[in-house]
């Protein structure tokens, strides 16, 4: 029998312990995607390997990866073979988080000689060798160094043989070693705090409390699912892909308090690095479900149990080795939209319209005019889909939780100048609630000494974010390279539209033009409050022409709503549109 008061204290403490573990890692990590994006996760497991608590960090992509990874570690090193001071490591994409850059470190925690818990974390390293971060690889082996499950520390001493190989294979050996030490130290922080709590609460084992937390989480998740009407809800989306469009098909089956999510019918694996391992598919699927149904239920073994997620082996959402996987986020980050499109048929007020979906990531490598090397990675986001009762957020990451990088930091860290960073007028999908706007981002290598390398990770340049419940789609993304007009050179303005996922070399004077996609609208645009349309026009989120065309709202010369003209226009628009949604 669990003492309810001990459970209260234990649970509060455990949340605080994993948050501390995450904070410790974020503070001391080197990788730029940790710096600007919080691209890490931190977790506690019971001695059986059940995930019991996970810190909320910048990336949903690690949710289930962490939960699954521990089994794989225990297959290789059963608990009986682990000793105090051992630390385990891997970056096996299929066993943890889907690409080589994400390295997982797991530490068994001992109380005396008894194994009482595991702490684990994932961190996106600054470099892992192979090609610079891009979607271009045709095989896994091009994407960097593969670290199978092995020991990073053996009874407290670093595994120098492993570190030798690692340091020889990466571009920034000091930063990478520094990150691995930071990850190890973060698990130690978690373990130390847990042992203190066990001493204070007089616990010999955390298993009974873990069982209780897991059972309660499972119950809460089941209750949330049971509130969704039974049925099979299907959805299908198309994204640009690398060299050909990719279809994601999903069937969500709700039966009582359990849910199956199956991706049969999705495209086969790509021959480029945009493939997704099942762990990562599960992570973004879980995230989508949680946002819609159970934002307050914590991630742990219990909350995962009621949901089964499957995808046919070899499809792009359950790719097999040696499929390349470096840019798996491009596809994976569409899954919350896929799930919401299906679930929305059952719970329309709990989901949002499609948004820009995947982050637009830019990786730059090259040299300054004085021949110093530079390498820069930054993240940008288009518009979020409109929400029941609210407009979509403009240029805000979803489902990812990362940050953009300030223009001044980009310019201090690289020879590029940001020419423009401005919201894209009319990019938000019209609707009763408007989709969020994307933005223009224009860059030029004004202080670069020579052509530099650009690896883009852009999608939705052909497939817009669809509207929902009568809302219209957001604007598609734009990506082109422009050479500015030079006097006397008639060909100079000819612009290029390279593949938005292929690495290219860019001349210093060339403008990189990125127009990030907008989010889809929700509900009939004609039903939008004309005063809201007026405000959108005043703030140039929407042009006067589009206000008239899409919303049927006519403004007078003073910018106020011309109600009689608006009524006439909307009346004319409604008749032919009958039954059109």
């Amino acid at each position: 029998m669990i003492d309810p008061l001990t459970l209260e204290v234990f649970w509060s403490r455990l949340i605080s312990v994993v948050n501390e573990q995450a904070a410790s890692l974020i503070r001391s990590a080197f990788s730029p995607s940790v710096a600007e994006a919080g691209d890490i996760s931190a977790c506690a497991f019971d001695p059986r390997g059940y995930l019991i608590a996970q810190a909320v960090t910048g990336t949903p992509g690690h949710i289930n990866s962490m939960a699954r990874c521990i089994r794989h570690f225990l297959d290789v090193y059963p608990p009986g073979e682990l000793a105090p001071g051992d630390v385990l490591i891997t970056n096996d994409p299929w066993k943890t988080s889907g690409h080589f850059h994400d390295v997982t470190v797991v530490t068994p925690i001992f109380r005396g000689r008894e194994l009482v818990a595991f702490f684990g974390n994932i961190c996106h390293l600054a470099d892992i060798g192979g090609r610079p971060f891009s979607a271009d690889a045709r095989e896994l082996f091009e994407e960097g160094l593969f670290i199978p499950i092995t020991k990073l520390f053996i009874a407290g001493a670093p595994n120098e043989e492993l570190l030798k190989i690692l340091r020889a294979n990466v571009r920034e050996p000091e930063a990478v070693t520094g990150d691995l030490y930071a990850m190890t130290a973060a698990n130690d922080v978690g373990g130390e705090r847990l042992l203190e709590a066990m001493a204070e609460l007089g616990l010999d084992s955390i298993v009974p409390l873990a069982d209780e937390v897991i059972a309660r989480s499972e119950r809460a998740m089941r209750e949330a699912i049971a509130r969704v009407p039974d049925g099979v809800y299907r959805n299908s989306l198309t994204l640009d892909g690398y060299d050909q469009p990719v279809t994601l098909a999903v069937a969500v089956t709700v039966r009582g308090d359990a849910m199956d999510v199956d991706y049969a019918g999705s495209s086969p694996a790509s021959s480029y690095g945009i493939n997704v391992v099942l762990n990562y598919t599960e992570a973004y699927t879980t995230f989508g479900i949680k946002c819609a149904l159970a934002p307050d239920v914590p991630n742990n073994e219990g909350s995962f149990r009621p949901v089964t997620i499957t995808a046919p082996p070899g499809c792009i959402l359950n790719c097999l080795p040696p499929s390349p996987v470096a840019a798996r986020h491009i596809v994976g980050q569409w899954l919350p939209n896929a799930v919401h499109g299906a679930l929305g048929q059952a719970v329309p007020d709990r989901v949002l319209a499609e948004g820009a979906s995947s982050l637009w990531i830019t990786q730059l490598n090259g040299h300054w005019a004085d021949s110093r090397r530079f390498s820069l990675l930054f993240f940008n986001s288009g518009g979020m889909g409109a929400r029941p009762g609210k407009d979509g957020l403009s240029s805000t990451a979803f489902p990812s939780g990362v940050y953009g990088t300030p223009a001044e930091v980009v310019e201090a860290r690289s020879p590029l100048m940001i020419v423009k960073r401005e919201l894209r007028i009319d990019s938000g999908g019209p609707g009763t609630y408007r989709g969020g706007l994307g933005h223009w981002l224009v860059l030029q290598g004004v202080r670069a000494g020579a052509p530099y390398r650009l690896s883009p990770f852009f999608d939705r340049t052909e497939n817009p974010a669809r509207g929902y419940a009568g809302g219209l789609p957001g604007a598609t993304g734009v990506y082109r390279l422009e050479r500015p007009a030079a006097p006397g050179d008639p060909t100079a303005t000819a612009d290029a539209r390279p593949n938005p996922k292929a690495t290219v070399w860019v001349e210093p004077e060339t403008l990189i033009v990125m127009g990030l996609p907008g989010g889809g609208g929700l509900g009939d645009p004609l039903a939008r409050d004309p005063a809201a349309v007026r405000d959108d026009v005043r703030d140039e989120y929407v042009s006067a022409e589009r206000a008239a065309e899409e919303y049927g709202v006519v403004l007078d010369t003073g910018g106020e709503v011309d109600y009689p003209a608006t009524e006439r226009r909307q009346g004319a628009r409604r008749r032919p549109a009958q039954g059109g949604t």
């Binding site: 008061l5 209260e8 204290v9 649970w11 509060s12 605080s16 948050n19 501390e20 904070a23 974020i26 001391s28 080197f30 710096a35 909320v56 600054a126 920034e172 000091e174 930063a175 070693t177 520094g178 030490y181 130290a185 204070e200 309660r216 989480s217 809460a220 209750e223 949680k290 946002c291 934002p295 307050d296 239920v297 940008n380 986001s381 929400r387 009762g389 609210k390 957020l393 403009s394 805000t396 990451a397 979803f398 939780g401 940050y403 953009g404 300030p406 223009a407 001044e408 930091v409 310019e411 423009k420 960073r421 401005e422 919201l423 933005h439 004004v446 005043r538 703030d539 140039e540 989120y541």
Partner: protein, 767 residues
Amino acid sequence: MGERLRAGVDVGGTFTDVLVVDDRSGAFWVGKTLTTPDDPSVGVRAGLAEVLALAESQLAGRRPAEGGPDERGGSDGGTPQRAPAGNALAALETVIHGTTLVTNALLERKGDRTALVTTRGFRDAVEIAREHRYDMYDIFLDLPRPIAPRHLRFEVDERMLADGTVHRAVDGAAVRALAGRLREAGVAAVAVCFLHSYRNPAHERQVGAILTGELPGVRLSLSCDVSGEIREYERTSTTLANVYVQRITEQYLDRIQEELAGLGSPAALLVMLSSGGLATVETARRFPVRLIESGPAAGALAAAHAGRRCGRPDLLSFDMGGTTAKACIIEGGQPLVADELEVDRVYRFKRGSGLPIRAPAIDLIEIGAGGGSIARVDALGLVKVGPDSAGARPGPACYGQGGDAPTVTDADLLLGYLDAGFFLGGRMRLDAGAAERAVAEGIARPLNLGVVEAAWAIHQVVNEHMAGAARMHAVERGKDLRALPLFAFGGAGPVHVYRVATILGVGEILCPFAAGVGSTVGFLAAPLAFDFVRSDYTLLDRADWAAVDARYAEMEDEGRRLLLTAGVAPEDVTVRRTADMRLFGQAHQIAVPIPQGRLRPEHGAVVLASFEMVYRSLYKRTPPGVPIEAISWRAVVSGPSPALDLRDADSPEGPGPGWPGPPAVAGASGAIKGERPVYAPETGGFTPTPVYDRYRLRPGALFTGPAVVEERESTVVVGPGATAHIDAFRNLVIIRPAGAARARGPAPEVEDRGAPAGSGAASSLEP
């Protein structure tokens, strides 16, 4: 010689607190008047007048009979004639003021119609912000609204590069045309924020000069003046907030000065900054955004001051009130200072949900955990407390004002920590029946617990929450809280501190006497100080030390000029230099001390060594071979810290009207005013526990827990087995049983004294 008086005035939501101190004798007087929200300066004047009159009468009354045994040594003993009327008023040299005006104006969006002028292509930087959702799972969240809407954001075709070179010059004619558009838009305030102005402010200055000429009467702030730091979103947000509240701040400060003049006082007005420094009215008028946290800053300064006096320069100040709890690390007698804060949070306590303000501020963590915080059962069937609060109205169920949600105060009452008949010194009766019903309905029944168990669960969950938040705060700063005594104040702080200390593993707890005057003490303990910062990303081994030296000279000259203008003697000026540095590629920077005086290339090695020392103290080891990067250079230019030495507790006439109750008694047992059952898990439930009257406990009094110590504003709960004594400064010092070995400093060796064990045992340390 006569008195030298200084006054601290804190305008709070309900009360205006005034503390007047005579720096020559340490005598002080306190007063409390109702805040006058429509024009707070009226309340300030009334409060000051009241306390000065009190000071006047006491000074006049005691002059002939001067001469306590250990204080006021001959300060004015040689002038036994009656003081002339208005003597106290004439002796008042400075009035130090803290205000929530700026915060409120931002929260309520009551500032001026404000325009933003940016570099071409960047008018949306302030709206695109960091492209981040501050809550992972809430798809319905809202983002903070920029102060200037998009139609009031304008661009100038100019461009500076990151190294400070001009890429495109300013076209003066275009700026004059822009001035016309601003005039047409009817704006009363303009913020100018160009890219890389932290590196080269020339364009901002040029445009600022033109706009000043073209737009008389319009308030103007340049980002290079308000916040000279890299990161355009944060700098723009700060500059906008500054100019947005400038006019109302000016008007407010003018009114206070008028009221002071009306009172006939010659005193100079100084204003408390968020950083814990004081500034002249002139500075406050230019940079109102630096006043945002002036109230909380004063609380932390008061804790730091008390810690310095009693030999605890390092501690954690813990202030728990009705709706929130705040914690702040005090190190070396000074509160830690952060470079940024947030205002107008959409989610009240969620980082990232407010407008960022880049300005030095006392580094507090504030969470939604207070006496009024509401408890409920969450989706997992576990107790959750806060962040929503029952506030003052309806308040906790036990207030009997119609609230029926169970709160922390209700739980504290049911556990015997509070006395229904002595809340606020008996001014308010608590309804234990209502508390019991609320806790039973809201928590006990759904969880199938007894009411007492449910109350204990609420108490413990809120304690865990506060301890967890404090520990996160410490981890993020590389500090270990276990080494820091807890300094507890605020209405609920002393009630909860014992359990919070237990969770944190802290051995020693200090509860100051008469915490009611806490903030105003902070005002009087602060020095005049000005903060400066210049950003410039540079690798340490490539640093241009002549340029760094020039930056410091520029910042420090300005600081000296401001201090001299405010009347500080040149020899009293001190400068503290630090730089924000990190290993290249790291996310977070650390503050590294920079040598004084002229900087030369050979200082590179000194700075490198300082960096490594600070880094290792935080992270144990420095990874080899990683270059070090400097981000920003900072200087704090300060006047002298006032030698505030309040002679409160044992002064023969007491400290003024804030002094209730009978005279203190020597031993502890004489201070016991009763006994009641109090819950402690160590004893398995309720134990009859002695209740001490704080006002009758004299320095040296010693007793052991369990015990409850009551004063008007709060109640200290001491757990079983702990030892408590009153120190020379009338702080109540608690040593936890398990933590006694960890306690540091000049705490009395209580075990050696053979303090009797068992509840309520009392003795005295005095011979």
